[in-house]
Symmetry: D2
Amino acid sequence: MPSERALGVAVVGTGRMGADHVRRLHHVVSGARVTAVVDIDAERARTLADAIEGCTAYTEPAAAMAAQDVDAVLIASPGPAHEAALLEALDRDLPVLCEKPLTPDAASALRVVEAEQKLGHRRVQVGFMRRYDAEYTKLKRLLDSGELGRTLMLHQRHRNPAMPSWFTEEMLINDSVVHEMDVTRWLLDQEITAVTVHKPAPTSYAPEGMSDPQLVLFETESGALVDVEIFGHCGYGYQVQAEAVCERGVVRIDDEHGPRLTADGRWGGRVTPDYLERFEDAYDREVQAWADATRRGETTGPSVWDGYAAAAVCEAGVLSQREGRRVRVELIERPALYK
Amino acid sequence: MPSERALGVAVVGTGRMGADHVRRLHHVVSGARVTAVVDIDAERARTLADAIEGCTAYTEPAAAMAAQDVDAVLIASPGPAHEAALLEALDRDLPVLCEKPLTPDAASALRVVEAEQKLGHRRVQVGFMRRYDAEYTKLKRLLDSGELGRTLMLHQRHRNPAMPSWFTEEMLINDSVVHEMDVTRWLLDQEITAVTVHKPAPTSYAPEGMSDPQLVLFETESGALVDVEIFGHCGYGYQVQAEAVCERGVVRIDDEHGPRLTADGRWGGRVTPDYLERFEDAYDREVQAWADATRRGETTGPSVWDGYAAAAVCEAGVLSQREGRRVRVELIERPALYK
Amino acid sequence: MPSERALGVAVVGTGRMGADHVRRLHHVVSGARVTAVVDIDAERARTLADAIEGCTAYTEPAAAMAAQDVDAVLIASPGPAHEAALLEALDRDLPVLCEKPLTPDAASALRVVEAEQKLGHRRVQVGFMRRYDAEYTKLKRLLDSGELGRTLMLHQRHRNPAMPSWFTEEMLINDSVVHEMDVTRWLLDQEITAVTVHKPAPTSYAPEGMSDPQLVLFETESGALVDVEIFGHCGYGYQVQAEAVCERGVVRIDDEHGPRLTADGRWGGRVTPDYLERFEDAYDREVQAWADATRRGETTGPSVWDGYAAAAVCEAGVLSQREGRRVRVELIERPALYK
Amino acid sequence: MPSERALGVAVVGTGRMGADHVRRLHHVVSGARVTAVVDIDAERARTLADAIEGCTAYTEPAAAMAAQDVDAVLIASPGPAHEAALLEALDRDLPVLCEKPLTPDAASALRVVEAEQKLGHRRVQVGFMRRYDAEYTKLKRLLDSGELGRTLMLHQRHRNPAMPSWFTEEMLINDSVVHEMDVTRWLLDQEITAVTVHKPAPTSYAPEGMSDPQLVLFETESGALVDVEIFGHCGYGYQVQAEAVCERGVVRIDDEHGPRLTADGRWGGRVTPDYLERFEDAYDREVQAWADATRRGETTGPSVWDGYAAAAVCEAGVLSQREGRRVRVELIERPALYK
């Protein structure tokens, strides 16, 4: 049961995601309050801080973490800034919720793994929010129940309405498919051992020189085969689907939600326009679960090992994307802390 | 098994429905051929007959029925012309498939019942084609299986995209809801004992002075309660749905068929535009079943008793529609022939 | 924006619903804390209070409301106890979230209306939680948009897996259909003017002497017609559905949610077993919205007028249920406070 | 319009499929009759022939084709017997409907292509019945309309409830995936250029030494990428699904058909148990279309080129299955007759 005192959280990074987390901690999450916001843009940090009683603006993560009223850290800065903030927090033994990716590559992720190992206990939760989505949770529970036997294949779809101008082909792997990597590892409770990226002829809407969509295959330790359609510009909305093919049945989660309207010669429903709407509840549950666990003195959810493994699979994926061949995933042996 | 010789059919009435049956008998139905077409418009009859080898045009049903090559009669003329054609066919002991309504009112329908009784065996099948629809058939089979216990309520929807200019409020009952009357009697295997018509404030698209949509309640012998939404101008397509509420489950048939398209921010499918497309397969099966039974020397399917009962319920419905009160349905005792 | 200090809430009544609200306020809702629990069972109140830091147990609502750390009251005691607690809270100008029903009958509800009017501003929100359900909210938004024209009919289903032994036929109206009364008034933004209850032959699973299921018809000010199937023992789960028939389209909300499993010759999904699971998110949003509004010094959501109107429609419904006839709903003129 | 005289058809091979076609031609198809049945099992042929007026039993296809009353041939014998029967029929310029596969390998299929080319006009339709399925037809029409832009990917599922004891791993390709090969070529209107078979760890229900399920990838001339899940023992029914990912939308056809039953805590529908039920209507339409075209003196539908191309893709698929690598499909240049 949570202690009476609300958890004081420093939010590091106040871009789209960070600002949304400030709002979430302030208005939605029970038992937590934002006591610090950190941004290299001092003005931006101050504006946010001023709107919240008892909240201070900082430009340096370390300064915020040193404050008396900061009990925990939520990192939502750009990926390259994560490592330093994570090491600082671990150095202070502060609980962290770190937005994905843990760090931009496997080597830096490994340094975080090592730092936490040295600390001797888990303090970091990585922001793979799909694990908190109601449908994914039910799917996980069903697969874990054993009712359907082993999972043999996973078919996944990940479609975005369009890509921002600065989006690159590698980001299809590092920013988008990274979610399916985590989902796969989590649902099947095993590592991904190889990745192969296939590129069909691209849509006319793909930016010059970018192959979109792509089909990504994962192989896992037990020999399960996973295919992921990643589509950066499907044009119609944000859609994430998964289908598990098991020995005694098939189970599917998808987007056919909400009111069904029949009009103008058609029946059907609306597709969510973006990931913030699609996973709004999942983000709420994720941050609440983190705050609750933290107040109990625990660290739960996706670990830095999950962040490191995802980074390693991403590297293999980008290499396969570049060279058009199957690439094996190389991981260090899993430390006892994450078993 | 059908005899080798194809059934020679006289089609009486060559309007939209009749012409469609000529096409069906000629192209779709196995073991039957159109040997006569009858229409008061001689030119129209001749044009149709000329396109089919061995087919003769007539202006009088009796003349066609007297022809050597006419083994059976399909009546698709306007309702008021049905009685004479039916009595003529029964007089000659010719098998008949008669489009609904059997006749325009209960009194005339009763005369057909009496004529067939005098003949001593069934010769007439009434064209309630929903009994041949794949979904209705499965629903009937499930209800009959007893798996779900007794049927307590039926919710039905009957929506048309728009009404022709000559459509009247009474036709909402006589032409449209008559199908739900037959479906109710058939699914529950019992008579309708009372009808109450409720009229909500009409849609702006309703013709001047017409109440559209309406909610029609049936009570049945066993005390089941049935509601039918009849909507003449729903604007979006032709949609027919039924939901049976049983003691141990609920079963629903509806229109969410065909390819599911996701585009433009929506997922979903197409609504059939009219009853001919929605029930195309049912019409095919109905006429094939009639031809097959006829060649075996049998008469199956909806009987003139079903046609008479529907006419009596329609009369009660129109009266309730007019007077705004519950009206009891009065039926003669069911003759042994139809038990 | 909420003030920094968490809202101190006294929870009156700690049965199934009250205990669930204590848990919700403590663990889920942001910006509120339980500072008092009230139950005539002193032991029960003390056990609950002991588990929460800073929470005191009471046996009298008035005593709790007098406490310094009580800013607002959540009433979840049995219906007959509501009036006294409400009047006490209004007397102290304390914000209230009152579980439905407001009070057990229209006369007592009217006394609460009068008390709040005398106070001169709204302080009470009534617990019609469906207004906070994601699907109902989207339906409301769509109807309000005017995109589909006026709403002509509403078809609603309300099915429970089974009834507790103490459930009576009147409770089908007062406890169950009362939700559809509020939904109808809210979705259509108008009063219900008449009620007619129809009783089909009951299911074999109905308790001796109880008619289950029933079909309840509402008429509204604008002439819309609403039917509600209320089924106390459908046997398979808790299912709530609504379909709005509009001038330019039909929109439906229902329960076909969650993972789709295909196994054992069938595809499909799970039905929620009870209302707590089905409306879990709605309860969370309702109490959060109440806490947020209260901290802003506002009162939003369903008002005591809504509670009074529902009570009046319930009285008409129970009368119709008893006498088998259409009963008009009599309401006082709507006070300016609720316009 | 068909000529008056019914088409006399010789059915070659009277196993499960052949006997079903005899029934279909006799009872369902309009304008055709079975005048000959051929089977090496003379007794079996005679029994079938005796039940149909005007039908003669043969043990040799050539003898049946020489008969006066045989206008066309339906070949439903085992694959290895197809070539001889096809060449005989082409030699006599007789119209043929040949069940898939055209022949067991590309070399023999090529000999049939050459024979028809020498004849100078098409006479053979190959039995890829999915092209006549209502959903596939609608999908084809939608893709052809250009409304959704180019098709970039196709995801297909092909699940069987269980495999007969004599089923081999190669038959997963030659008997099952061959349908997806044809569907792919037909929907996209282009050839398949390469095949890669992936094998996840098999289900426990797979026969000793067989890899089941498998994931088969096709590449096409335009660069579209197609994945096919083939599952020989899914355990729950027969399920065939396809999803086309296009530039401006995604369209899906699947099995969520028929009545929706809610009972025992679940909602949903039934899965068809086998391909005969799933594609019953498609078979009916296929044979009717063949009879109609033949009576008009035309040959339509899948051609021997389609049969040859499927055989070539199958060979590549079996090689990939065996060697675990991507295999290019080699085709001769398409003769003018099939352009």
